[in-house]
C-alpha cells in the first residue's frame, strides 16, 4: 500500500459534518468535557502528532528530533532494534515521558491542554507489563477500562462494552479467575480487553504480541486492524517484522533515537535498510499468495552431516548476493 492510498483511506473515515453534529449534541447534553472526547476523530487531521521531539534522561539523548504522526483509520507499526527509543516515543505520546524539546498533539490539541480524565477517553495504552497488585478477576480488570467514562452518558454502556471486549479477546474462559493467577499471554489478552473497553479512538500498544502464541499474535493484530478499519488510530510497537509487514498500513523504523524511515511496509522493509539498522544481514521474501513481505535474518544452511565420525568441516555456501559465507560445523565425535 502506498502513502497515497493511505491518505485516501483516512479521508473517507468521517466527514467533517458528522464531527460537528456530534459536538453539538453533546453540548446540549451539557457534558462539554465528554463532548470533546466523545466526537469521532477528525478526518484529515492526524490523531496524534509528535513534532521534533527530543528526550534526554541523565545526559543521554534517547530521542533525537523525532517527528511522527498517525491518522485515524491506520495501523502504524514502530519498529527498531532494542534500545532504539520505540517505547520512549510511545511514552512521549502517552504523556508518561516529558519531552526535553518539541511538541506533542493529541487529536489536534497540545498534550498539556488535556486533563488526565479526558485523555483516558481519547487514548488507551497497552503496556508491556500487565500486572495487578491484588487478585482482581479478569472481568473486574476489564471493567476498570470503563473508569474514564464514569459519570458520562456513556457509562450506561459499561456492561455491554465489557462483555464485548471479553468476547473479542477470547478471555471468556478465565473471566472469573484472578488476573495474577493467569499465564503471561492470558494476562496480556485480558489487558487488551481492558484497553478495548476504554473505547478511546486512539490505541497505543507496546509490544502487545510479546507474550502470545502464534494464534493469539494474529488475533491481537487482527483486532488492532479491525479497530483501525472502524476509524481508530492504532500505533503498535512490534519486534516481529513479518507481523508488522502483514498488519501495518505504515511502518516507522527507529534507530538510535531517530526516525530512519517512515512509509508503507514495502518501502521500509528493504534488506539494505534493515540490514544497516539491525546490524544483521536480512532477506525479504514475498509470500507466494498474498505478496506480503516476510523478513528473515539470513541464515546459513548447514551441510548435512554424512558420517558421525567426521572432523570439523568447512563449507562454502553461496549466498544470493553472490558472496560466500563460511560456516563451520562443530567438532569431531570421538
Amino acid at each position: 500500500m502506498s502513502v497515497f492510498s493511505r491518505r485516501a483511506a483516512t479521508a473517507s473515515v468521517e466527514s467533517p459534518e458528522f464531527v460537528g453534529m456530534a459536538g453539538r449534541e453533546s453540548a446540549i447534553i451539557g457534558d462539554s468535557m465528554a463532548g470533546a472526547t466523545d466526537a469521532p476523530l477528525g478526518s484529515g487531521e492526524p490523531a496524534l502528532r509528535v513534532q521534533r521531539a527530543s528526550v534526554e534522561i541523565g545526559g543521554t539523548r534517547i530521542l533525537d528530533d523525532v517527528s511522527f504522526d498517525a491518522a485515524p483509520g491506520e495501523v502504524v507499526a514502530l519498529i527498531g532494534p532494542n534500545g532504539a527509543g520505540k517505547s520512549t516515543l510511545l511514552s512521549v505520546v502517552t504523556g508518561d515521558q516529558a519531552v526535553t524539546t518539541g511538541a506533542v498533539e493529541i487529536a489536534g490539541r497540545p498534550l498539556a491542554d488535556w486533563s488526565l480524565r479526558e485523555l483516558g477517553r481519547r487514548r488507551a495504552v497497552l503496556q508491556q507489563q500487565n500486572g495487578v497488585f491484588f487478585p482482581f478477576t479478569v472481568r473486574e480488570v476489564v471493567a476498570m477500562g470503563r473508569a474514564p467514562w464514569q459519570g458520562t452518558p456513556r457509562d450506561a454502556d459499561d456492561d455491554r462494552v465489557v462483555e464485548e471486549s471479553i468476547a473479542l479477546t477470547e478471555t471468556t474462559r478465565f473471566r472469573d479467575r484472578p488476573l495474577p493467577s493467569l499465564s503471561g499471554g492470558e494476562r496480556a489478552r485480558a489487558s487488551l480487553a481492558r484497553i478495548l473497553a476504554q473505547e478511546t479512538g486512539i490505541l497505543l500498544l507496546d509490544e502487545p504480541t510479546a507474550a502470545l502464541d502464534l494464534r493469539h499474535q494474529e488475533d491481537v493484530l487482527r483486532i488492532a486492524r479491525d479497530r483501525a478499519r472502524a476509524g481508530d488510530c492504532v500505533v503498535v510497537v512490534l519486534h516481529d517484522l513479518s507481523l508488522a509487514a502483514a498488519y501495518a498500513d505504515r511502518i516507522v523504523l527507529i534507530s538510535a533515537g531517530r526516525v530512519v524511515a517512515d512509509g508503507a511496509p514495502d518501502a521500509v522493509l528493504t534488506p539494505a535498510l534493515l540490514g544497516s539498522v539491525y546490524e544483521v544481514e536480512v532477506e525479504v521474501i514475498r509470500h507466494p499468495v498474498t505478496g506480503t513481505a516476510i523478513v528473515l535474518p539470513r541464515r546459513a544452511t548447514e551441510p548435512a552431516i554424512e558420517s558421525p565420525k567426521h572432523a570439523a568441516t568447512t563449507a562454502a555456501i553461496p549466498s544470493e548476493s553472490g558472496e560466500s559465507m563460511c560456516v563451520s560445523t562443530l567438532e569431531e565425535t570421538p
Partner: protein
C-alpha cells in the same frame, strides 16, 4: 453472581469453539450476594458484640436492658431499664463511651490499613509497619512530657496527627524509587522510622516525671480504659470524614492496583491521590491513637481477612474493613477488660498477641494459592 453462558466460538460448533466457550469454574468469589451477606453478618455482629460488651463487667447488665437503656434515651420504652440502681449511669458514663471509642478506633485503623495497602500497592503496608503509629505516639509523648496544651483537649490528637503524617511522608519519600515502592525498602524504612520513634519515646520517658512516664507507657501498650464522651466527640468527626473521603476514592484505588502508569492512562492523578490518601491515613490513625495509644495489627489483618472473603474491589472492601475493624476492637476490648478479674489488659498487647500468629497463618495460606500477594 457472574456465571456466564458461552458467548464465543459459535454455539460450541467445532472443537475450537467449544473449548473457548467453557468458563473456568473456580475460584469463585466476590459476588454481590457474598458481599451483602458479609455486610449483614458484620453489621449484626457489631450490634450484638457492642450490646454484650456494654453489659459485661463488674456490674453485669443483660443485653435487653442495655438496649432498653438506649431506647429510653430516645423515648422508646419497650424494653426494661437496667435493674441495678447504678446500671443506667454506669452504662452512659463508662461503658458506652468506651464501646463507642472501640468502634471508632477499630474502624479507623482497619480503614487506614486498607488505604495504605491500596496506595502502596503492597499488602504489607500498614500504619504500624511503616511507622505512622509510633510517629504519632512520639508526638503525643512530646506533648505529654513538655506539658503542651495549646489546643486544649485537641493538643495530643493534633500532635499525634502531625507527627504521624510526617512519619508517613518520610516513609513514602524514602521507599519510592523510579515511581514504585519496593517491598523491602518499604519494610526497612518502616523499621528505621520505628527505631527512630522508639528512641524519641525512650528519651521522653527518661526526661519525664513519674506521671508522664505512666502516660507514655499507656501509649505504647494501648488501652481504651477511661474513654470519655469528650474524647469520642473529638475522634468521631475525624473518623467519619476520613472514611467518607476514602469511600469516594475507592474506585481510584482499584485503578491504582493496575500500576501507577496504567492508572494515569485511565485518568487518575496518581500523585494527588497518594498525597490525599497519606493525609487521610495520618488523620485516621492520628485521631485513633491519640486517645487510646498504639493498637497494632488491626490495620493489617482485617483488610486481608476481608479481601480473602469478598475479593479486592476497594469499595466493598472498605465497608467490610470498617465494620470488621469495629467488631474486632469491641470484642478485643471486651476480652481485655474481662479476661483477668479486676484487671484491664492493654488492648494493644492483645491484638498483637493474636494478630501476629494470625497474620503469619494468613501469609502461609495465601502464598499457597495462585495469585497470592500479586
Amino acid at each position: 453472581m457472574t456465571r456466564v453462558t458461552p458467548t464465543v466460538g459459535g454455539d460450541g460448533v467445532g472443537a475450537g469453539g467449544s473449548l473457548e466457550a467453557r468458563v473456568d469454574p473456580l475460584p469463585r468469589r466476590a459476588g454481590v450476594g457474598r458481599r451483602a451477606v458479609l455486610f449483614v453478618v458484620l453489621g449484626v455482629a457489631l450490634v450484638v458484640v457492642s450490646l454484650v460488651a456494654a453489659g459485661t463487667g463488674q456490674l453485669a447488665i443483660a443485653p435487653d436492658e442495655v438496649l432498653g437503656s438506649i431506647l429510653h434515651r430516645i423515648g422508646v420504652t419497650i424494653w426494661p431499664l437496667p435493674s441495678h440502681p447504678n446500671g443506667d449511669s454506669a452504662l452512659w458514663t463508662i461503658r458506652f463511651p468506651r464501646v463507642a471509642m472501640a468502634v471508632l478506633v477499630g474502624a479507623a485503623l482497619a480503614a487506614s490499613g486498607m488505604i495504605m495497602q491500596a496506595i502502596f500497592g503492597n499488602p504489607l503496608a500498614e500504619p504500624g509497619v511503616v511507622g505512622v503509629s509510633s510517629g504519632a505516639a512520639l508526638g503525643a509523648a512530646a506533648t505529654i512530657v513538655l506539658g503542651l496544651n495549646f489546643l486544649g483537649d485537641w493538643t495530643i490528637a493534633f500532635a499525634a496527627f502531625v507527627t504521624g503524617l510526617l512519619a508517613t511522608l518520610l516513609v513514602y519519600a524514602v521507599s519510592r524509587a523510579n515511581g514504585k515502592t519496593e517491598v523491602v525498602t518499604l519494610v526497612l524504612t518502616g523499621i528505621a522510622v520505628n527505631a527512630f520513634a522508639g528512641a524519641g519515646l525512650a528519651l521522653f520517658m527518661f526526661l519525664a516525671d513519674t506521671q508522664s512516664r505512666e502516660a507514655i507507657v499507656f501509649w505504647q501498650l494501648g488501652s481504651l480504659n477511661g474513654s470519655r464522651w469528650q474524647d469520642v466527640l473529638v475522634v468521631l468527626p475525624v473518623v467519619v470524614v476520613g472514611i467518607a473521603v476514602a469511600l469516594v476514592l475507592s474506585r481510584r484505588f482499584d485503578l491504582l492496583s493496575l500500576g501507577e502508569k496504567a492508572a494515569r492512562h485511565l485518568g487518575v492523578n496518581v500523585e494527588a491521590l497518594r498525597i490525599v490518601s497519606i493525609v487521610l491515613v495520618a488523620l485516621l490513625v492520628g485521631g485513633a491513637v491519640a486517645f487510646v495509644g498504639i493498637i497494632a495489627f488491626v490495620g493489617l489483618v482485617i483488610p486481608h481477612l476481608m479481601r480473602m472473603i469478598i475479593g479486592p474491589a476497594h469499595l466493598p472492601l472498605l465497608i467490610a474493613s470498617t465494620l470488621g475493624g469495629a467488631v474486632l476492637l469491641v470484642a478485643a476490648d471486651l476480652v481485655a477488660r474481662t479476661a483477668i478479674p479486676m484487671a484491664d489488659l492493654p488492648i494493644g498487647l492483645l491484638t498483637s498477641l493474636i494478630g501476629g500468629p494470625f497474620f503469619f497463618w494468613l501469609l502461609r495460606r495465601t502464598r499457597k494459592k495462585a495469585g497470592g500477594w500479586g
